[in-house]
Amino acid sequence: MRGQHTQASLEQEQVVKGYDPVVMRRIIGFARPYKLAAILALLALAISTAGELLLPVMLQRAVDEHLLATHRRFDLEQATEVQRQLREEERPVDADFPSDSLDPDAIVALLQANQITFVRLGEALYVLESEAQRLSGAEQEVLREHGILEPDGYYLFPLNEDTREAAGDELIAENAETGAVPVDVLEQLPEERLRRLRSHDIDGVVRVSLVFLGVLVLVLIFTFAQTYLTAYVGQGVMKDLRMRLFDHTVHQALRFLDHNPVGKIVTRLTNDVETINELFTQVLVNLLKDIALMIGVVITLYLLNPRLATVVILTLPPVIVLTLVFRVRARTAFRRVRHAVSNVNAFLSEHISGMAIVQMFVKEKRTGRRFERRNRELLDANLGEMYVFATFRPLIDLLSTTSIAAVVFFGAHFYLDGVVTLGVLIAFLNLVRMFYRPVMDIAEKFNLLQSAMAGGERVFSVLDHDDRVPDSGARNLPRPVRGELVFEHVSFQYVPGEPVLKDLSFHVNPGETVAIVGFTGAGKTTIANLLTRLWDVDEGRILLDGIDIRELPLSELRSAIQPIQQDVFLFDDTVAENIRLGQPIGDDQVVEAARTAQASEFIERLPHGYYTPLNEGATVISTGQRQLIAFARVLAHDPPVLIMDEAPANIDTETELLIQQALKRVLAGRTAMVIAHRLSTIKHADRILVLAHGELVEHGTHWELLQNGGLYSTLYKYQYEGLER
């Protein structure tokens, strides 16, 4: 039954896997309780990204509509005239032109079809330059050829007394609300007149600025909200995952825990979970944002101007190729660095721990050289990684500038064709820069994604492995628990082929104190392990008050039979908490237990009495005092059966005396098995079991055994104390 599990350990080969959908799905599964926060985070992400994209667009609108505000004029008189001529000469309108007529109605229809707003002043239509470019190049060409679309720009303004006066003689057209002047004229106007004429635009700039500020604030708030919310989800998932891991691991059988060093368990619970955290806070969010931003930029580019957008897209293939190459190279370089780093660190930590050996063997020089070699390897790996990054980033920057150059070059052509305005061109310059910003990050994020996957895999492999002591017992102990113990033909081995207990049978009456005596390796401690079901017997059975302990619920068994271990383990908490161990026991009961255990005296002398924290490896507490705290612990929990592994350590005489007194009180009124190392303990026992090689060789009272003249009497003769082995 055992054996097949003994190899079950957390050992994992270090395969760095790429994206693993199963692991990913399980990680996402842990995010389910945080669905609302996750949705809000995505929402915030969408809003902040949209906001960031909106900013350059707003800038463009401001430039086109307010800063420049140049209008194109469509001359309707000329249109009528041209149409008349065409009809006379029976010439068709140019094939590229969507309408078969060039009369004013057709022009108006054309503008309306392209959703271009226009202002009619006299026999001319005025259209904002940025809107005029919605007409195709061919259409504009036709109109320009026929002199309908004029090359000169016009400035339009709301007409009132003030602006009429400011425009003065330059006013070339007007209707009730709007006036127009040629753009060239503006430069010749004195400043004061110019300001009055353009006060409408200045107001517009102020308005746009305010909206711009609003969007900025919005971006600020939502970017923050998104960062915080994702961190909240990530941290929440980590917390739950760690909790699950702890809960799962703490319930595993000792078999499992003995095979996995504590350090490894700690790493799974902390570092490995932490790499998954990166997945949320770094990868998912940034990747999503980066991708959203890039897609957003492309969409915006197309909305602004499909032709120029296509130019930008055409400059992208080198970027994509470069990024793919970089990803591979960076990964290789990164792995090499990680390998070299772990080599150097392992060498360092090992040789710091083993420095005594190095110095004993006078190998300082050679060790120094060996370290130097690893150190150099690390340097080479680091430099290799640096080369990759030092080439990639500048190259991406170069490509980004090249894209911009292409935008300006083609933009200039399109501008000549009238299909692009200056504002759009400016917006493009900004957007292209925005597009290139995440390119460098994305490639790096993929590496993080990989390590998160590896961490996730290790974590889940722990969760998938389940090896608990079966806790299926459903019978309850009859109350009150009498504390009668029976071992029936019990055999046990930790490692197959090395039996520790062989067909062991004995009987302990309620309230009796039994001492177990024997040399190291006789199986004494194993008896304690079996009684509390830290391990299960291989053969035979153990009965408590007539019930097989496997038929009892674990919690019931373990509250009935409690151990005092040899090396008393104290947790990093207060003295009181170490006695209580989380049981709802009142302060006075704790004090009472400590007093009975003879521990109150030294506890009260501690700096904070019962509230003195006992740190790990607490040196303030001596071995003997630890023993007394353990007594108090047991007294506070008051189990009907006690199993004590006495400490063989040399304890100062004063404490030793306290322990002896306390022990009597601890043992009184309960069944006790004591794995004894002190003569006095043995003498006070009701009965003594002598164990050798997992078998019971003698039993009886101290006097009976002495008279028998067997193993015990020989042991006794040479004093059962004071020796270390």
């Binding site: 923050f224 005594a356 050996i357 110095q359 004993m360 300006v408």
Partner: protein
């Protein structure tokens, strides 16, 4: 703070050329970047004017591409030289740190945790690298770019445009001030993390108590509290950290806002051309990074100084056990003489050894028995000066140990310590640790004596099996036997076995000792042990109790007289009977 950086000077001087070339490349890059907005300005203005030649634009854009290529080269250059220098300095500093560590006494390692030294060799060196590389770049670039851009804005743009830079210094201030809070909270997160680790570590170390007292749920709650606390600390960090980039974006957005408002009006009033508007926009974007860099530099330099202080602390540590200048290199013979040796670790501590006197003739062996803490290990450590004994109290070959060249003295000895520390490498390399070139026949011979040969056949890769942390886990006995073989391979004049057979069963032990003493005929051997069966092989035995010699003599003498030796002997005899 800055004085800590003095340690770095010699290293930086060595790479002065790297730094000069790197900074020149940086200047080229930054200067080039400054021209980009100019070229764009000219192009945009020409386009805006309407009557431009496409050829002119083509020429400008080709210039732009050429400029970008130069910048790319410059960028590669400064990264190559400055990062290269800082990486090399990091490696050299780490090398020197380790060389220094090689010199420090065992007592230094007794009071210093490995983890602490590791943190210095990794995290602190990393912080120093950042300070000697990135911080320098950020500082140089920041100052250059800021000044240059401000000058350009002053000269070329209407004075109004200068208003736009007002929010930018706020970025630096924000980073410096938030940087402090962030590093404080970050530290709290790290503390939370170690608490969580300690909590886990503790729970699984004390797992027997937890299970025996059915306290799984209580400890789950305790862990839950630490877990929650760690989560909270993380979120506290995120509140500030998460504000960071949005705030920077906001502030740099504000400059655009000001440009839009002030510059926009200026364009309307024709004081400012559209091209100038775009150029200013570009310059402002360019200023954002130097401003972030300025704040970043302050933080990195501070952190670097703190880390350098921690490195300097180690480098200032001086070894107490030093080799005598022109010390003896050859021992006249290999006898040992200890004359009324008393030793204490600290002045106010009790004596660990008191008035210990004994002699071992060259080529003979001595056994030492005593309880834990009786001073056995301290005693044998004074022989090869792993602990410095008072002058003249320990003599090897009739010469006081401190009169030897330290290396030559230690080369006389082969020490097998209690714990049998092995390096995590192959068995072969461990055995050959003392040798410069391993002779297979010799290794096989000592493996046979140390009775590790049979185990080797069972190891997955035989002699090339990696042991320890990165290999297979060995039992205590296997470790001890390999450690014995390692010392034997050196064929030392004096062999010290410090309780180094404790985890080996008695029969194997007997086999090892018989072979070992046969192999070492004519050489001195010191055997510390708790087992009489081991000690009886020694020519003489001394018994230590509380740092004093309480008994001495041959095995046969000692079992005939009352005392600790005979007590132990009797009990071990008894035990032997029981086992057979």
């Amino acid at each position: 703070m800055i004085t800590e950086y003095r340690t770095l000077l010699p290293y930086m001087r060595r790479y002065l050329r790297f730094y000069i070339v790197g900074l020149a490349a940086l200047a080229l890059t930054s200067g080039g970047q400054l021209f980009i907005p100019q070229l764009l300005r000219i192009a945009i203005d020409e386009i805006a004017a309407g009557d431009f030649q496409i050829r002119e634009i083509t020429r400008l854009m080709l210039q732009l591409c050429a400029l970008a290529a130069i910048i790319a080269v410059g960028r590669f250059g400064w990264r190559y030289f400055i990062h290269g220098a800082s990486r090399r300095i990091e490696v050299e500093l780490r090398g020197d740190l380790f060389k220094h560590l090689l010199k420090l006494d065992p007592s230094y390692y007794a009071r210093t945790r490995t983890g602490d030294l590791m943190a210095r060799a990794t995290n602190d060196l990393q912080a120093i690298r950042m300070a000697s590389g990135m911080a320098l770049v950020a500082a140089a670039d920041g100052i250059f770019m800021t000044l240059a851009i401000l000058v350009i804005l002053f000269v070329q743009m209407p004075p109004m445009a200068l208003l736009t830079v007002v929010p930018l210094p706020l970025i630096s201030i924000l980073i410096v001030s938030l940087g402090r809070t962030i590093s404080r909270r970050f530290k709290r997160v790290q503390e939370g993390f170690s608490r969580l680790s300690e909590n886990t570590q503790e729970a699984f170390t004390g797992i027997r108590v937890i299970k025996s007292f059915v306290k799984e749920s209580y400890f789950l709650r305790r862990f839950g509290a630490a877990n929650y606390d760690y989560q909270r600390r993380n979120l506290e960090l995120v509140i500030i950290w998460g504000l960071f980039m949005p705030a920077v974006t906001f502030l740099s957005g504000l400059t655009m806002l000001i440009l839009l408002r002030v510059g926009g009006e200026s364009v309307i009033m024709l004081g400012f051309t559209p091209g100038e508007f775009v150029a200013t926009l570009n310059y402002l974007e360019m200023l954002t990074w130097p401003m972030i860099g300025a704040g970043f530099t302050v933080n990195v330099i501070q952190r670097g100084a703190a880390s350098l202080a921690r490195i300097n602390q180690v480098l200032r540590e001086e070894p107490e056990i030093v080799s005598s200048p022109d010390g003896r290199r050859v021992a006249p013979h290999t006898g040992i003489e200890v004359n009324s040796l008393s030793f204490r670790y600290q002045d106010d501590a009790p004596d660990v050894l008191a008035d210990v006197t004994f002699t071992v003739e060259p080529g003979r062996s001595i056994g030492i028995l005593g309880r834990t803490g009786s001073g056995k290990t301290t005693l044998v450590k004074t022989l090869p000066r792993l602990i410095d004994p008072p002058r003249g109290s320990v003599l090897v070959g009739g010469v006081p140990v401190e009169a030897y060249d330290l290396g030559s003295l230690r080369l006389l000895f082969g020490v097998v310590p209690q714990d049998g520390f092995l390096f995590s490498t192959t068995v072969r390399e461990n055995l050959a640790f003392a040798l410069d070139d391993a002779d297979d026949a010799l290794l096989r011979r000592v493996a046979e004596i140390a009775a590790i040969d049979r185990d080797l056949q069972l190891f997955p890769n035989g002699w090339d099996t990696v042991v320890g942390e990165r290999g297979i886990t060995l039992s205590g006995g296997q470790k001890q036997r390999i450690a014995i073989a390692r010392a034997l391979a050196k064929d030392p004049e004096i062999l010290i076995l410090d309780d180094s057979l404790s985890a080996v069963d008695t029969e194997t032990e007997e086999r090892i000792l018989t072979g070992l003493l046969e192999y070492r005929v004519g050489k001195t051997t010191v055997i510390v042990s708790h087992r009489v069966s081991t000690l009886q092989r020694a020519d003489n035995v001394i018994v230590l109790d509380g740092g004093r010699i309480t008994q001495s003599g041959t095995h046969h003498e000692l079992i005939r007289s009352d005392g600790f030796y005979r007590e132990i002997y009797t009990i071990q005899q008894l035990e032997k009977q029981l086992h057979h």
